[in-house]
Symmetry: C2
Subunit: 415 residues, 2 copies
């Protein structure tokens, strides 16, 4: 007997028939003697419908009120799944985030989980119940509902698995695992049986849509074994087979049996680049530029500061495209304070990255990457590196070309 | 400056354009210097949509899980209304029932409000905010969401008005007041400017759909002046005119300026009658029959026990038609225990009642009523009376005929 957390995405919860499938799958695990916690997303389309209603009333919906509305999608899901289980005679109980005290900060629409109270859930599990908890949301110190942002149900599932010391967190989704890159862009993309936590973190944070990056951070920090697997298989397939399907995110580098230098190519189409020109080069300049951006709750990704010339420097950074207008507004407001000559931006850029723990012991990955892009005539706008990844910012229109060329150059189609 | 509670029904909240209308109306009251609490229902159709999903999973949805789901409709409404107000520059904040501690019992799907904590709401009102609170729901002692049943938002509004000591509770709805009877049945039906609390209670509990009966009980117990008025008027109509429109439910009999003997004819189409035949007539028989029915959370309305013959008696009562099958099931289960010869039922009966405080000082209302029905050839199945109303149970097919004949017989078309 083990404690297992299941997470189901919006597509898996998309209709009452699909919810019955989820119930059958959950029941199979429960029948095998496991304690099961399920974290379902809202039914597919529901969160967008709710946000659409909000936008009919406010162009920039008030974040607290938006969370009030958006959080209801998951609440409906947990109730429906509990009913689907009760209908087939399985003991089940649903909870909204606030009911099991999933405490978050107050950054509405992008809150972070601070703590989870496990007393109620433990009591239910010990009583043999399947416990269903809303993903995507918690409650702040003042009792306001706060959501974790799109994809936040993954984070909820992993955080709950960590808090409850679950043996494994199974993320059921509409893809059957983590691929070397997006198969919609490169048809030769190949599923990985295992991936290290660090690689997954880079892939997730770089825009690979399989798992929200914060969920991988949680998995890493609390060492929660997490598996991405398909929710589209027969719910009654043998449990042993299901338990070994998909891609396991592991914590041991030597479980990377495939020993590839590069594990995958990640990309993020929706990037935007902002350059502040002619800033006086003195201590604190980065802080004075990025402080107000952070205060506006905008996440900054790549950052470059050029060598100064005649006491002036240029400063460039990227944000996600959806926050480009907001970020530009913030900077216009502080332009005089920071003494910048001008501010320019480009919202049509994309990021492509090669990721792999093998990079540590192999040289030449960067030069191989740059040569490949050069041969395709793709200009590199920015470069950023970490121990296990190299990212480049390029013109949006070359993104697919770059991903395909790199996938081939690093032989990723071969196992 | 006064504290006023506004309640808006599902039709008034039926689209974002209508929600903007509600916001304009609320803003008008707030601009006039009043403190405003708004209790909106779910958008029309939403509660039915949610219950429909539940019924696809369970024929008899689990009550706790159903409340989890059904309560989300109002949560969406409060968030949207807050946004509509914020969008026109009015300070507003929304709360779900559990956030302002609307404490209920645990009778899921038909819970009763036990207490309301006013601290948070008072602080917001004093800070000049418009406070928007979900109708229809609260939270039980174990932190479970519990709904009050259909129409429960009226009760929420009046209970909040009572707890906050509001000067008036305005129930905005898609009718423009309380009528002598349903205008869809009798075209000569006339709107009443005032009605006493007692009359309204009889009308509401007898099936007049304008206000949920529990909301009238609350209004009566806490002496909350409550007005039923139209949400279909121009939201920018003069406030003075709006404040005097509709029907005021008053607590002074002498405000019944119209001095009519009968105020209105109420009816309830969806009744069902159950008769237990040949029960040994001994102490406790009524308790042994109705106890299990009450335990199953089924409300019983009219009750008749016949004179016993040879130590045996017949016992008849009515329930709402939707609970007929459940009630019959309960009774079949205890039939042997109570020693009944047989149980029979009729789910095609309706109740028609004449209501009026004037009855107290006038004789002959009952005989007038029975003569009118007799002249129309309508057989009376059961009779029940209170100080201010006389109800009869008749075959469903005569219901409209009875209502029209009684409306005319008591001259209700004349002011």
């Amino acid at each position: 007997m083990a404690l297992i957390v299941h997470k189901y995405g919006g597509t898996s919860m998309g209709s009452t028939d699909r919810i019955k499938n989820v119930a059958a799958r959950v029941a199979k695990w429960h029948d095998a003697g496991h304690q099961i916690i399920v974290v379902p997303s809202a039914m597919s389309g529901e969160t967008n419908r709710l946000i659409g209603l909000a936008k009919q009333l406010m162009d920039q919906p008030d974040p607290r009120e938006l969370d009030m509305i958006a959080s209801t999608g998951e609440q409906v899901s947990v109730g429906l799944l509990a009913m689907a289980l009760l209908a087939i005679g399985k003991p089940a109980v649903s909870y909204a985030g606030w009911q099991v005290a999933i405490k978050t900060d107050s950054a509405f629409t992008k809150a972070r989980i601070e703590s989870i109270d496990d007393v109620k859930v433990k009591a239910d599990l010990d009583a043999g119940k399947i416990v269903i908890i809303t993903g995507f949301q918690g409650v702040d110190a003042n009792g306001n509902i706060a959501t974790l942002g799109r994809g936040g149900s993954d984070t909820s599932a992993v955080a709950i698995a960590a808090a409850m010391k679950a043996q494994e967190c199974l993320i059921y989704t509409d893809v059957d695992g983590v691929y070397t890159t997006d198969p919609r862009v490169v048809s030769e993309a190949r599923r990985l049986k295992t991936i290290t936590f660090e690689e997954m973190l880079e892939l997730a944070s770089l825009g690979s849509k399989v798992l929200q990056s914060r969920s991988v951070e949680f998995a890493g920090n609390y060492r929660v074994p997490t598996r991405v697997l398909s929710s589209l298989t027969d719910p009654l397939m043998p449990l042993e087979e299901e338990a070994n399907s998909g891609t396991l995110i592991s914590f041991e580098e030597d479980t990377n049996m495939e020993q590839a230098v590069i594990s995958g190519i990640a990309f993020n189409r929706d990037e935007a680049k902002i350059t502040i020109l002619g800033v006086p080069d003195k201590p604190g300049v980065a802080y004075h530029i990025l402080g107000p951006v952070a205060d506006a709750n905008i996440e900054v990704d790549m950052i470059i500061q050029n060598q100064s010339v005649e006491g002036k420097t240029d400063f460039t950074f990227t944000v996600s495209r959806g926050e480009y207008v907001k970020a530009m507004g913030v900077l216009e407001g502080v332009k005089t304070d920071i003494g910048a000559a001008s501010i320019s931006g480009d919202a049509k850029v994309s990021k492509v990255s090669v990721v792999g723990v093998g990079m540590r012991s192999h040289v030449g990955v960067a030069s191989q990457m740059f040569r490949t892009l050069s041969e395709e005539g793709i200009n590199i706008l920015m470069i950023s590196t970490s121990e296990i990844k190299i990212s480049v910012l390029i013109d949006e229109k070359y993104m697919e070309l770059a991903v395909r060329a790199l996938h081939k150059a690093f032989d990723l189609e071969k196992a």
